[in-house]
């Protein structure tokens, strides 16, 4: 099913395909040393820098035994000389067996998948999609809770612009969750996602205070509230400390609660949380490597 298919948007994968990736990721975590792609060449094209995502993908590729070609900075490529994305993709797809790409423009990965002879894995296209992040979030949720069904998921921070929360919401909707959205008024969950949940009959509540939802949650998904997002800086000053998680706040939470964050964190999770066994964000990042191994191996048909 997944074989030879590009992964551009999380909506490209069915429920069964998502479950398959999660199962494979668990398999790679148990046995990370599986050089199934020896002799293959995988291109890693980063038209904008993203060190964490690139290192995670390239680690996954190396663990699978394939070789990596590509660039990590567009300034080093002919794209700065005016070469079109189309030309770059056509050329590279003649060299590599699969292309991992990140691009600042939205829709770039979809377009590339239509030009390329080989599958494309979208490692982020502007504010649009970053499906491997969603899959690693799902793997992390599944692993820590033992399953994905009927979970209570609190999303905190920037729910308006945060693409990770939007994609996670869409993908989790297969599994009958209940959502708690905690955000300042300026950064509330957009109506289109609430309409989507209404249509699917999925429950959600909106809050402005994290304390209201902490005792209920199985998963606490934190995101960064960025100053640039506010039209009114006074409003930012008012809320900037409201969406910060401190260790003491975790006292009255469920024993199975785990705290997730797509990283990098700035100050929205204070460092005293790091030692708490409920903090899961660094392990979540590590899960990204296994998830990306699972994505690449299944697209190239070796798993």
């Amino acid at each position: 099913m997944i074989k030879n298919k590009s992964l551009v948007s999380i909506n490209d994968f069915s429920k069964d395909e998502i479950l398959r990736i999660i199962e494979l990721a668990a398999d790679f975590e148990a046995n990370p040393d599986q050089p199934l792609l020896r002799g293959k060449v995988i291109a890693s094209l980063f038209f904008e820098p993203s060190t964490r995502t690139r290192l995670s993908f390239e680690t996954a590729i190396n663990r699978l035994g394939a070789r990596v070609i590509g660039f990590s900075d567009v300034n080093a490529t002919s794209a700065t000389k005016g070469e079109t994305l189309k030309d770059t993709i056509i050329m590279v797809s003649n060299y590599a067996d699969l292309i991992v790409m990140r691009h600042p423009l939205e829709g770039a990965a979809r377009y590339a998948s239509e030009q390329s002879r080989v599958p494309i894995v979208n490692a982020g296209d502007g504010a649009n999609q970053h499906p491997s992040q969603t899959l690693l979030d799902m793997f992390s949720i599944s692993k820590t809770q033992g399953h994905l069904d009927n979970l209570k998921i609190a999303m905190v921070g920037d729910l308006k612009y945060g693409r990770t929360v939007h994609s996670l919401l869409m993908a989790m909707s297969y599994f009958n969750p209940k959502f708690y959205f905690v955000a300042p008024d300026e950064l509330k969950m957009p109506q289109e996602y609430k309409t989507f949940l209404d249509e699917k009959g999925i429950e959600y509540e909106e809050h402005t205070d994290m304390a209201d939802v902490l005792p209920e949650a199985d998963i606490l998904y934190m995101t960064r509230v960025q100053k640039e997002r506010f039209s009114d800086l006074l409003e930012y000053e008012k809320v900037k400390n409201t969406y910060v998680l401190r260790n003491s706040m975790l006292d009255a939470t469920k024993p199975n609660l785990k705290v997730l964050h797509p990283l990098p964190r700035v100050n929205e999770i204070s460092t005293d949380v790091d030692q708490n066994p409920k903090a899961y964000y660094f392990k979540q990042a590590e899960n990204g490597v296994y998830t990306r191994m699972a994505i690449i191996a299944s697209i190239l048909g070796v798993k």
């Binding site: 079109t84 691009h103 423009l105 939205e106 829709g107 770039a108 979809r110 504010a127 649009n128 999609q129």
Partner: protein, 151 residues
């Protein structure tokens, strides 16, 4: 009725497109490529209309549009009515319908969309017909009627 007819002269054979909102006349002209065809064309605009306030009418001599060609104008003139004329007689009346897919004639409103940076044929699925909402196949953002720009 007679007086209204006098404002735009009759054609022997061809198509009359009526009930175009006056402010969208030029969009209809550009969508149908009327500026680039040799046919005789008569326009009337700012005519009174009960439904639209001010409407426009276009008469194109010796031209009969295919459905997918004419349905393009449904985005800017959803109430447009076509009269097919043969020998000064209306032999058929048609209405336009909003297509499910819009390919190549609307610009994505998202400045960060790849289609606004490279030469790419735009593609939208119509997610809502009233109000009109077009979802970009590439950036997945929704362009509303207000933001819609015809290429």
């Amino acid at each position: 009725m007679e007086q209204k007819e006098l404002k735009v002269s009759a054609i022997k054979n061809g198509t009359v497109i009526d009930h175009i909102p006056a402010h969208n006349l030029f969009k209809v002209i550009s969508l149908l490529g009327l500026a680039d065809i040799p046919n005789q064309i008569t326009f009337g605009t700012n005519l009174e209309s009960h439904k639209l306030g001010r409407k426009s009418i276009i008469k194109v001599a010796d031209k009969f549009f295919a459905d997918d060609e004419i349905n393009k104008i449904a985005l800017v003139a959803p109430q447009a009515k076509l009269n097919i004329i043969r020998d000064y007689e209306v032999i058929e009346k048609k209405q336009v319908t909003i297509p499910d897919e819009v390919v190549g004639y609307v610009r994505c409103f998202n400045p960060k969309c790849i289609t606004n940076h490279e030469h790419i044929t735009t593609r939208f699925s119509v997610v809502s017909k009233d109000p009109l909402e077009l979802k970009c196949h590439y950036c997945e953002k929704v362009t509303s009627e207000k933001e819609m720009v015809i290429i």
